[in-house]
């Protein structure tokens, strides 16, 4: 059982880092704290918006991923990299980008007014879901695209030899793959939307759109009711955990057998109808993602000259934290993925299922008696960022590890390939694209994160997103837009380097 040894260690670390702070908050709280009635309506709204966001993200991601999987075109690589962009943007940057398109004075409403049509409002449940789809559609697309690319090209070749139609290919090859991949993707999007705070509030239009995370914030900062905050965090955890259980129950592993990993050519899809359909989906998705990004770019360019030097310093801090966080995250995710058990995924999921505010507070309660929390600003930020990115990295790595073991495990056993040698000669080479992608996600997510917890803030080590918020807080919206653009560029750069490095010269 040497294979799951590191997995147990990783699971222990993650569980201790998440449950430890939660317990610390409980112990620090006074007894008798109750969850309020208004909190339960927040729980209902949170589940509703997270479920809708997850369903819609995945429903749209499936045709987009299929189109990307079976078409080769110029700019495809760039498009796939850009797919990572919305996911890693700080919330306020993304929201302002979306508003430039869908807002009251945005492109869509300007066009509608020009056509003499009534305006559409982004504020309300529809806006919350729209923003969450903007954030998560790309991620879901990448995860499902990876599933498509996991079907060996030999199977499609065989299907073409047998003269299978598009419908038959979908039934025998694509449906089993989706059964294996989609539940996990749904779960991870659902879990991330559970802890939504700023998006839900900013676009939700009012107190109807109160989420559990806001209730936690309120309990902590306005009522200083630690017990209530911790109980609400447990509710979040239970919700995400239930989603995970449902996902494993629903997921059916696909057994395609091994292939040679060649580029897929899809004979059955070479009809004009299929081409037009795919072009339509790719165009729609690209437009939906790229137009808001373009607006962020345009707004940011004019602000670049006003960006103060502190922002560039902060950029250095953010990149450093992102690299440390990436290394931590990938090591943890790989160890957990090698376990190939459901519990490992549940452990990984805890990172986004628990309120960052509660983790931060708990860590603070634990650390503060021993040393100055500010001295731990860098490591704690990197560590918490790694935990937050863990479920995504895990979602990307786990299916490929499972597939590699299923396809080559017995051969490796027969060759007595164990421990480090197995990792070095079997797993890592076959995992290269997934490792690159997950490292890219982890790095970029860490770049965009708001320095996690104010409690550990070190005035001299402000991160880039924090400096951006500070600029906004000082009315300097243009300079903030410039900082947002720098952040977007750096995040994309970090993402691109890892992701591209993983893909190597493979035309993925």
């Amino acid at each position: 059982m040497t294979r799951s040894g590191p997995g147990w260690v990783a699971a222990g670390i993650v569980a201790a880092l998440i449950l430890g702070p939660l317990v610390a908050v409980f112990m620090r709280a006074e007894a008798g704290a109750q969850v309020l009635t208004s909190d339960w309506s927040a729980v209902r709204f949170t589940i509703l918006q997270a479920a809708l966001s997850a369903l819609l993200s995945i429903a749209l991601a499936i045709p987009v991923a299929r189109a990307l999987a079976r078409r080769a075109f110029r700019g495809r690589g760039i498009l796939i990299t850009l797919l990572g962009a919305p996911f890693i943007l700080p919330v306020i940057v993304a929201v302002l980008g979306l508003l430039a398109v869908f807002g009251r004075a945005g492109i869509v409403n300007t066009a509608l007014a020009w056509l003499g049509l009534p305006p559409v409002s982004i504020y309300g449940l529809q806006g919350v879901v729209l923003a969450h789809v903007f954030f998560n559609l790309p991620l879901a697309t990448r995860i499902i695209l990876q599933g498509w690319q996991g079907i060996p090209s030999e199977r499609f070749r065989l299907a073409a030899n047998l003269g299978l139609s598009g419908v038959q290919v979908a039934r025998f090859l694509e449906w089993p793959m989706l059964r294996a991949v989609v539940p996990g993707a749904l779960m991870v999007v659902f879990a991330i939307c559970l802890s939504s705070f700023a998006v839900a509030l900013t676009l939700g239009g009012g107190p109807r759109a109160t989420t559990v995370e806001l209730a936690i914030y309120q309990a902590f900062n306005f009522d200083f009711d630690l017990g209530r905050a911790a109980r609400l965090a447990v509710i979040q955890l239970v919700l995400a955990g239930s989603a995970a259980v449902v996902a494993f129950w629903a997921a059916v592993p696909a057994g395609f057998g091994a292939g040679l990993g060649r580029v897929v050519r899809r004979w059955e899809a070479e009809t004009w109808g299929a081409r037009a359909l795919d072009a339509g989906w790719i165009g729609l998705a690209a437009g939906f993602l790229i137009v808001p990004l373009a607006m962020i770019f345009l707004n940011g360019v004019s602000g670049l000259t006003q960006v103060p030097g502190a922002v560039w310093r902060a950029a250095g801090v953010s990149v450093t934290i992102a690299l440390i966080s990436t290394a931590l995250c990938v090591a943890l995710a790989l160890s957990l993925a090698m376990v190939r058990r459901g519990w490992a995924e549940v452990v990984a999921l805890m990172g986004i299922a628990v309120s960052p505010l509660v983790i931060g507070t708990g860590l603070f309660v634990i650390v503060n008696p021993w040393m100055d929390p500010a001295r731990l600003a860098m490591p704690v930020t990197a560590l918490v960022n790694a935990l937050m990115a863990l479920p995504f990295a895990m979602r990307v790595l786990a299916p490929d590890v499972a597939r590699t073991e299923a396809d080559f495990g017995r051969l490796a056993d027969a060759l007595s390939l164990r421990g480090w040698a197995r990792l070095r000669w079997l797993i890592l080479p076959r995992l290269r694209p997934a490792l690159g992608f997950s490292a890219g996600l982890a790095g970029a997510l860490s770049m965009g994160d708001l320095g996690v917890v104010a409690l550990f803030a070190d005035p001299d080590f402000a991160t880039l997103p924090l400096q951006m918020y500070r600029l906004m807080g000082a009315y300097r919206m243009e300079a903030a837009a410039g900082a947002g653009l720098i952040l977007l560029a750096l995040s994309l750069g970090v993402f691109w380097i890892f992701d591209r490095g993983g893909r190597g010269d493979v035309d993925a």
């Binding site: 700023a198 900013t202 507070t361």
Partner: protein, 328 residues
């Protein structure tokens, strides 16, 4: 190499602390930004105190208090700067603060409501709805008029933001039992409710609403820093105030330095920094007057403020009304 620098820095820092006393001031995050008051205040105070002034930033005003409650009497803080009068009742309850003992006459309206032996104001402002003169030449003139108009507004959530709480108390102070009806009237004006001031002001900047809840001093920023005279604050019959205060910790290891800092805080050296870094009114008029671009504060008869000990009860009632009215 970098590690070497850090190690050297730590070494130097430890040597320095052995010689000069350190005054630790907890404050909110935007105070310590390079463009905030923090750096100038630090330089000015260190010139006169023969000490090392260290700011520790902890989120916003509300998280500042939470942090203090978490740390209790073990806190390293000597001074806490950045609470407002809506938080001071809760801050007093912690029992962590000591009287500041300063009797200065401050240029802040409604002293009978804010005077407090534990907490001393360092800046203040009036909440107001800010608009663009060209896009909205004739703004509403009362809360009621606003509620009955079709002018769109962005506000902040009273559960996560101090301006949001300010508006809640403003409506309550003006309309009392009629506050819920005003909120019902306002509900169709409200484009959205943001978690903090920055998001709301950003949305207003993007043209998402005609007006945004901010301060009467906001237009001064646009005039002074951007030479843009198009923004104005709509003047209503009365405006709720925000008064930002500082207090000294009873467990401070540097009580004399803390006292010295609080006296310095209401002196000209500190007060003249405030207007163009924190964009609020100073509590003592600077020797050279307010910077160009700043209007004189509204007269005292326009100022509304609940005394700190009234706030918790008012807040709870008003929050319930707010949630009911806006959830319909």
């Amino acid at each position: 190499m970098k590690r070497l620098f850090i190690a050297a820095g730590v070494l130097l820092a430890t040597q320095a602390t052995a010689e000069t006393p350190v005054l630790t001031v907890y404050t909110y995050d935007s105070f310590v930004a390079d463009w905030g008051p923090g750096p100038a205040v630090e330089a000015a105070f260190e010139e006169v105190c023969d000490c090392d002034l260290q700011f520790v930033a902890a989120g916003d005003g509300a998280s500042l208090l939470s942090r203090l409650r978490l740390e209790g009497a073990r806190s390293k803080a000597d001074v806490v700067l950045g609470l407002d009068t809506n938080l001071t009742a809760a801050a007093r309850e912690t029992g962590l603060f000591a009287p500041h003992g300063i009797e200065a006459e401050l240029d802040v309206p409604r002293p009978e409501a804010w005077r407090d032996e534990l907490f001393l104001p360092y800046d203040w402002g009036y909440f107001a709805f800010v608009h663009d003169r060209e896009k909205l030449p004739q703004p509403p003139e009362t809360l009621e008029e606003l509620a009955n108009s079709d002018v769109s507004i962005v506000i902040q959530d009273p559960r996560s933001s101090t301006p949001g709480l300010g508006l809640l108390l403003w409506v309550k102070a003006v309309h009392g039992d009629g506050a819920e009806a005003i909120w019902e009237g306002l509900s169709d004006n409200i484009v959205t409710v943001t978690p903090g001031w920055s998001e709301a002001y950003g949305l207003f900047g993007e043209g998402e609403a005609d007006m945004v809840l901010s301060y009467t001093t906001s237009p001064a920023y646009h005039r002074v820093a951007e030479e843009d005279d198009s923004k104005a604050a709509a003047i209503f019959p009365q405006h709720y105030m925000q008064i930002e205060v500082a207090g000294k910790l009873a467990a401070s290891a540097q009580p004399e330095l803390a006292d010295q800092f609080l006296s310095f805080m209401v002196s000209d050296a500190f007060q003249s920094i405030i207007p163009t870094t924190n964009w609020m009114y100073p509590v003592a008029m600077p020797e050279d007057g307010l910077p160009d671009g700043f209007d004189a504060p509204l007269a005292e008869d326009k100022a509304l403020l609940f005394a700190p000990d009234e706030v918790p009860a008012q807040r709870e009632a008003a929050l319930a009304e707010w949630q009911r009215a806006l959830s319909k």
